[in-house]
């Protein structure tokens, strides 16, 4: 198993947003997270990536297996596309960036500074980064924002390959990705609004 | 020809040396960058006209 969540609650700004979430993700499986704005998708993905501790419950997965892609892409505008990618490849101990460039058709842009890309081109570079991490579990926050249909198809291909090689993916999105995968609606797990953290609880029934 | 600079020899010589070195540096950097850029542009133009003639065939 790649990832297991056991009765997990996650909090943002000290206030729980999701609670009682349990799920398991096996290699080769992708799960799409859906839910209205503000339900806590980003918070959940950050918790799984190890960027914030769970509020309650347990995340069963080593942070070293997760590659996280956030709303922003972590690109340096003054470095070229190839340099950006090569940096992340070096950090994650990968050598070859060419497959990643090829998969998102970035080779013609390789020598262009990342600051001179359009919104969608930046996003493609951000997604290419995932391919040089060599990590099995991808936690993606709205990966296809700003992408055109060709690029969405490229992403779907890359994702299928990743799953085919025994990887797994957890994807938060509002739009159709063109891949077949299970969908989890987070709406039902919304935390009861009147529970604070342990400290705030002490104030309950004060008035 | 010998020039007698008297007790200020170091002063005068170092002033000349410093200025000439600075000027030489400026000229060297100018030429170095000029050459580099010129070569780069020639190379790019070559690939471009090659691509164009390839396309014509």
């Amino acid at each position: 198993m790649m990832l297991g969540l056991h009765d997990l609650s996650v909090a943002r700004g000290g206030r729980p947003v999701l609670s009682g979430l349990s799920l398991a993700l096996a290699p080769g499986q992708a799960l799409i997270l859906r839910g209205p704005n503000g339900v806590g998708k980003t918070t959940l993905l950050r918790t799984i990536a190890g960027l914030q501790p769970p509020f309650a419950g347990q995340v069963d997965c080593a942070p070293e297996t997760v590659a996280y892609a956030a709303h922003s892409d972590g690109l340096k505008p003054t470095l070229t596309v190839a340099e950006n990618l090569r940096f992340w490849a070096a950090i994650f101990g990968t050598r070859d960036i060419n497959p990643a460039l090829a998969a998102y058709d970035l080779a013609p842009l390789a020598e262009r500074p990342a600051g001179m890309l359009s919104a969608g081109q930046k996003r493609r570079l951000g997604l290419a980064r995932l391919m040089v991490t060599n990590r099995p579990l991808w936690a993606l926050d709205e990966p296809t924002v700003s992408l055109d249909t060709t690029a969405v198809a490229q992403f779907a291909t890359v994702l299928r390959d990743h799953l085919g090689q025994g990887g797994a993916a957890l994807i938060a999105t509002h739009i159709d990705l063109g891949i077949t995968a299970d969908t989890l609606d987070l709406g039902p797990y919304r935390a009861a609004p009147d529970r604070g953290d342990a400290f705030d609880d002490a104030f309950e029934d004060w008035a | 020809m010998s020039v007698d600079l008297g007790k200020y020899a170091t002063t005068v010589l170092s002033a000349y040396a410093a200025s000439l070195v600075l000027l030489a540096l400026l000229v060297a950097v100018t030429f170095w960058r000029g050459r580099k850029i010129r070569a780069r542009m020639t190379a790019l133009d070559a690939t471009k006209s090659k691509a164009r003639s390839d396309a014509a065939h």
């Binding site: 262009r112 | 020809m1 008297g6 002063t11 005068v12 002033a15 000349y16 200025s19 400026l26």
Partner: protein, 243 residues
């Protein structure tokens, strides 16, 4: 035939290619003659001893330091008003040359000051305003090199050059007010010729001519480089577009 035809980069490059050899030759010749004459064949000053020979480097570089800024100012104005790219690139090309001239003036002055005033540096108004001029050059160059859109960079640096010139003049007055100095008055003006004896005057004029020619040659050559760099950028961008 108007001057503006040289706003066309190809025309500019073709012409500068023809003019440059003559400029280089003239510059080298004048500098060789002037500096040799000044260094080897002029007498020592009765007060300053042989240090007076520094004047052949100090004064021309000081003049060019100021004139380079003036040239940048004019070029910036031309760019802002008529939007001729070569003009903006010429301003860019002149800045490092002017900055170097400023450094030479400062360095020779400092070296000269050591025996004359007993100190490397004094907060004399003339010296101080040169230091400020150097800072302006630095800021101008730094601004150019941190903007990657060429036209934006040209616009912003031109605005900076304009505003900077006003403040440079203000600084000059402020500094004068702040500290009356040690430095020699200007004595190169023709009607005050007696201040600098003829023996010093002629080689000095030749050196000044040499520095002017050198400046012109450097700026023309560097402008050509900038133009080519600009074209490389355009070619690279086009390659990117052929996706």
């Amino acid at each position: 035939m108007s001057l503006w035809q040289y706003a066309n980069p190809r025309k500019f490059l073709a012409t500068s290619e023809r003019v440059l050899p003559a400029l280089w030759a003239g510059a080298v010749l004048c500098l060789l003659v002037g500096l040799t004459w000044g260094f080897a064949f002029t007498p020592d000053d009765y007060r300053q001893g042989s240090t007076v020979k520094i004047i052949y480097l100090h004064v021309p570089s000081a003049l060019m330091a100021i004139n380079a800024w003036l040239m940048m100012l004019v070029a910036s104005l031309v760019w802002l008003v008529r939007r001729h790219h070569v003009s903006a690139l010429a301003a860019r090309a002149a800045a490092p040359v002017g900055a170097t001239m400023t450094v030479i003036a400062l360095a020779t002055g400092a070296i000269w000051g050591q025996p004359m005033w007993g100190t490397w540096w004094a907060w004399d108004p003339r010296l101080t305003s040169f230091l400020i001029l150097f800072l302006f050059y630095l800021g101008y160059i730094a601004l150019w090199s941190s903007i990657d859109q060429p036209d934006t960079a040209a616009d912003l640096t031109s605005v900076l050059c304009l505003v900077g010139s006003v403040f440079a003049i203000l600084s000059r007055y402020a500094v004068n007010f702040w500290n009356q100095g040690l430095h020699q008055g200007a004595s190169l003006s023709l009607d005050k010729e007696e201040n600098v004896a003829d023996v010093f005057y002629h080689p000095l004029l030749i050196c000044i001519a040499g520095f002017v020619l050198l400046f012109l040659a450097l700026v023309l050559y560097r402008t050509g480089t900038e133009i080519r760099a600009r074209r490389i950028r355009a070619l690279l961008l086009r390659q990117g577009a052929e996706v």
